[in-house]
């Protein structure tokens, strides 16, 4: 009746996950009860859960990422403590528990922190920058978000019901095959990635179509803000790469569930095929994550330098070059597996070539700053911190791309330091920069600068104190994923790294404090102009937060830096505005489809993990029924009458006029 599920699935003998799970459960229940008692449920349901507004969905993505960042961060803290004390001792974590932690940490950080964070920012900002009202497929957008949430939910469920994979974040076979991992850990891993992967693919298709087909009047390709370009590149990569992940995981699941032989040791299965497939997805994946961050830095650097982006066209070219090359280097992830010198040399060189367009980008940012009027607001701090950090990460990347060097450094702490260097210094710093930069746009008030700067400095320092020792330990021969060790020279570095982790955590606390303080002072921090940073692209041309329809009229774009041009020309010509003729606007109606879909996906995923077949069928029927019900809707749009549009837009226009005259005074 319940498949493999019984009481032994609850780890009563392991206090840490149980207590953690219990606390979280109590927390969630408390929030739920509070929501219901205070009567917020209808508001949540109508304004958020069923919302198909790209801005709301973007915010929810970022919220999901932030919560999961805390989860993944606790895993990181646990691992650093373990390695600091596990010298000639077992430490405080049993080995198989430690293995689950590093697997869950990697999985969560890549799939449920970095991905939702960048997808959330793209969702929030790109339609605004393109001057349009929504993404191409609003309801699908909501489906994508909720499926990602399902994946995250399943991963967290593994904390209390059953176990998580002990295979590392990529579940290499044969370790992940049934014979070596008979438990449900790998199934949790595979199904949550499978479900959230569908969500990601949906988001990718949506954003590609949005950028290619929905730009406002006059927004030619070479007038799109840099962030739109990197969004396009990143989502093209999603569309091309995520199906590979889907197929690979499907094969692994077929092996595990039906006794197939894709990657098994017996009957002719081929483990190297898994390596090739997973890295054909995995290497593009790191660029899926980092390209949007490059876009954010481009926007931030040019805004806070008060200059147009230097070398816009070379930046576009570099972005698209990275997009293509990132598909041709995957083999550098297994130089050591005996492909032979020729193959290794070719892929080594190909890997290093990516450093060229990346270098172009760095120089462009530097030249943008050169001679600019630089303001070191928090987003700009993250951007500068990124440039310094990413150069180091890029250099160590080129180092591991040299096959002979990689034979020494592969699977070592050095590698761990390298990819954290690029992922934290690149993706996470980018996400934070974007968060600080666009927060006023999303919520209508700025974030507290003092706490923001403290958050930056603690995170920045903590990052170096944590990861520089790992480079050293790697050089001293320490391999990754050690539960305990006996080499005395490694010990001091592990202790320093643990201290660094503590500093890093202070940075995270500062960020939380920043939110709390800013929400409390939101009246004082209110942004009435819609343009708190003196921005250059169209998202600043509407009010903060923008009305549901974003723009009363599709803006007419006449050059790069669309909004900057408008401001300059409005000043020069001191235009007398006649009252524009407002028209009715059609907007997509809210829909519970996404939420309901995710509900059935959760049931189905859980049932599949535990082999509860009747429940799988139930989930499947439910999903199909949702699809039909959605297709049966008669009214998927509603109309905002012109008078209402006018009333909303008039306020915005007033603010903007005062802004223009203010700017004229400078």
């Amino acid at each position: 009746m319940l498949g493999k599920l019984d009481w032994s699935a609850i780890p009563f003998d392991q206090p840490i996950p149980l207590i953690a799970g219990g606390v979280v459960l109590v927390g969630i229940l408390a929030v739920l009860i509070w929501v219901v008692v205070k009567g917020h449920l209808p508001y949540l349901w109508h304004e958020w859960i069923t919302s198909v507004d790209h801005k709301r969905i973007g915010v929810m993505y970022i919220l999901l990422a932030s919560v999961m960042l805390l989860r993944g961060g606790s895993d990181a803290i646990m691992m650093r403590i373990q390695q600091a004390i596990a010298y000639q001792s077992q430490g405080y974590l049993p080995p198989e528990h430690y293995n689950q932690i590093f697997s869950a940490h990697g999985t969560i950080m890549i799939f449920f922190v970095a991905m939702p964070f960048v997808i959330g920012l793209m969702n929030l900002v790109v339609p605004l920058q393109l001057g349009v009202r929504d993404v191409a497929f609003p309801t699908l957008n909501s489906v994508g978000f909720w499926l990602t949430a399902t994946g995250a939910l399943l991963v967290n469920l593994s904390l209390v019901i059953g176990e998580f994979a002990r295979t590392g974040w990529l579940a290499f076979p044969p370790l992940s095959e049934l014979s070596y991992s008979p438990g449900v850990g790998v199934d949790y891993y595979a199904w949550s990635l499978q479900i959230s992967g569908v969500g990601t693919l949906v988001a990718g298709i949506n954003l590609v179509t949005t950028v290619l087909k929905l730009r406002t009047k006059g927004m030619n390709y070479l007038r799109m803000p840099m962030f739109c370009w990197t969004t396009l590149a990143s989502n093209l990569l999603i569309v091309a790469a995520f199906p590979i992940l889907t197929a690979t995981l499907a094969m692994l699941l077929l092996d595990r569930y039906l006794g197939f032989h894709f990657f098994t040791n017996e009957a002719g299965g081929n483990v190297m095929m898994f390596m090739n497939l997973i890295w054909a997805w995995g290497h593009p994946e790191v660029y899926i994550l980092v390209l949007p961050a490059f876009g954010i830095f481009s926007e931030v650097v040019s805004t806070f330098s008060g200059k147009a982006l230097f070398g816009y066209r070379s930046m576009v070219l570099a972005t698209m070059a990275i997009c293509v090359i990132s598909f041709m280097v995957w083999l550098h992830h297994f130089f050591t597996m005996g492909a032979g010198p020729d193959v290794n040399a070719i892929f080594g060189i190909a890997s290093m070539i990516i450093a060229v367009p990346t270098g172009v980008k760095i120089y462009n940012w530097l030249f943008t700053m050169y001679g600019g009027r630089i303001r070191f607001a928090t987003p700009m701090l993250w951007a500068v911190g990124f440039m310094v950090t990413f150069i180091i990460g890029g250099l160590t990347g080129v180092l591991v791309a040299v096959p002979p060097a990689d034979f020494m450094l592969h699977n070592s702490m050095f590698l761990v330091a390298h990819f954290h260097n690029v992922i934290i210094g690149g993706v996470l710093f980018g996400a934070f920069a974007g968060f600080e930069y666009w927060f006023p746009k999303a919520f209508g008030f700025r974030l507290d600068e003092r706490w923001g700067k403290m958050a930056f400095w603690f995170t920045f320092t903590g990052f170096y104190v944590t990861f520089v020792p790992l480079y050293v330990a790697g050089m001293l021969g320490m391999t990754r994923r050690l539960q305990h060790y006996n080499v005395a020279e490694w010990r001091p570095w592990m202790i320093v790294a643990a201290i660094g982790m503590a500093v890093l955590s202070i940075g995270v606390i500062c960020q939380i404090m920043q939110l709390v303080v800013s929400i409390r002072n939101r009246e004082a921090l209110r942004d009435r102009t819609g343009d708190p940073w003196d921005g250059r692209s169209l998202e600043w041309a509407t009010s903060s937060p923008p009305p549901v329809f974003n723009f009363a009229f599709h803006p007419d774009v006449r050059g790069e830096d669309a909004y900057w041009d408008m401001k300059i020309h409005a000043q020069q010509q001191s235009l007398e505005h006649d009252v524009p003729e407002y028209q009715d606007i059609e907007m997509p109606r809210n829909s519970p489809t996404g939420f309901v879909c995710a509900f059935f996906a959760t049931i189905m995923g859980f049932a599949l993990i535990w082999h509860i077949w009747w429940m799988v069928i139930l989930g499947g029927i439910g999903a199909f029924a949702t699809f039909v019900v959605f297709a049966w809707r008669d009214h998927d749009e509603y109309v905002i009458p012109a008078a209402e549009v006018a009333a909303i837009d008039r306020v915005n226009l007033e603010e903007r006029r005062s802004l223009v005259s203010l700017a004229g005074a400078i």
Binding site: R215, F260, A267
Partner: protein, 213 residues
């Protein structure tokens, strides 16, 4: 936002590359839908190529089990292929009928498409069942694993297509040729034709090449 009514072209085109073709603004809904669905189909084709690649890697790994030439039956495959190609034609007829709002030909075209799809599925199912009965199931060898997965993945797509097809007929029955129904019909047609193209790949790579060795 009509603040920039009069801007010289020198300004609009700072790089002086010549004429700038002004982008007209967001595309109409039908274009957007079709475009998005195309992008989805491309991603689906990427997924299929992984299974094709796996098949190519594993095709000789028979683990002393049967080879392709020992289990493929050309006659059945030929019938399957004819069914699918014909169904693409009838699906096209149904699309045209939908465009000219002719219910009778629409239902007829869709019904024939459905029947052809079901025949295809039945033959495939029988092929699989026979193999399993002879002990040549997917867990017999890596070759059979890859074979069952690639062909089965296509079969699953066809099954989903049949479900979608029936839903489309019901939609036209209940709602008529409304704009959104027509957009969905267009996507369905794209999907069905794409499955045909993929089958041509399966047919050539698996059955034609496979019966040679």
């Amino acid at each position: 936002m009509a603040m920039t009514a009069t801007v010289g072209h020198a300004h609009a085109d700072p790089h002086h590359i010549g004429v700038v073709i002004e982008h007209p603004g967001p595309a109409p809904k039908r274009t957007v839908t079709a475009y998005g669905f195309w992008v989805f189909l491309l991603s689906d084709i990427v997924m299929f190529s992984c299974f094709f690649a796996a098949y190519a890697v594993l095709v000789s790994q028979t683990a002393d089990g049967p080879k392709g030439s020992e289990i493929f039956e050309q006659r059945n495959v030929a019938i399957e292929t004819v069914c699918l190609l014909l169904s693409s034609f009838t699906c096209g007829m149904a699309s045209i009928a939908a465009d000219v709002r002719n219910r009778f030909w629409f239902y007829l075209g869709m019904a024939v498409t459905c029947v052809l799809g079901l025949i295809f599925l039945a033959i495939e199912f029988k092929e699989f069942a026979d193999l399993v009965a002879r002990g040549y199931g997917p867990s017999r060898s890596a070759f059979l694993t890859a074979f069952f997965s690639l062909v089965g993945c296509h079969g699953l797509h066809v099954s989903a297509g049949v479900l979608w097809l029936l839903t489309m007929m019901a939609q036209v029955f209940a709602k008529g040729f409304r704009a959104d129904v027509l957009r969905r019909m267009m996507c369905f047609a794209l999907f069905w034709h794409a499955l045909d193209i993929i089958w041509v790949g399966v047919f050539s790579v698996v059955y034609l090449l496979g019966s040679g060795v």
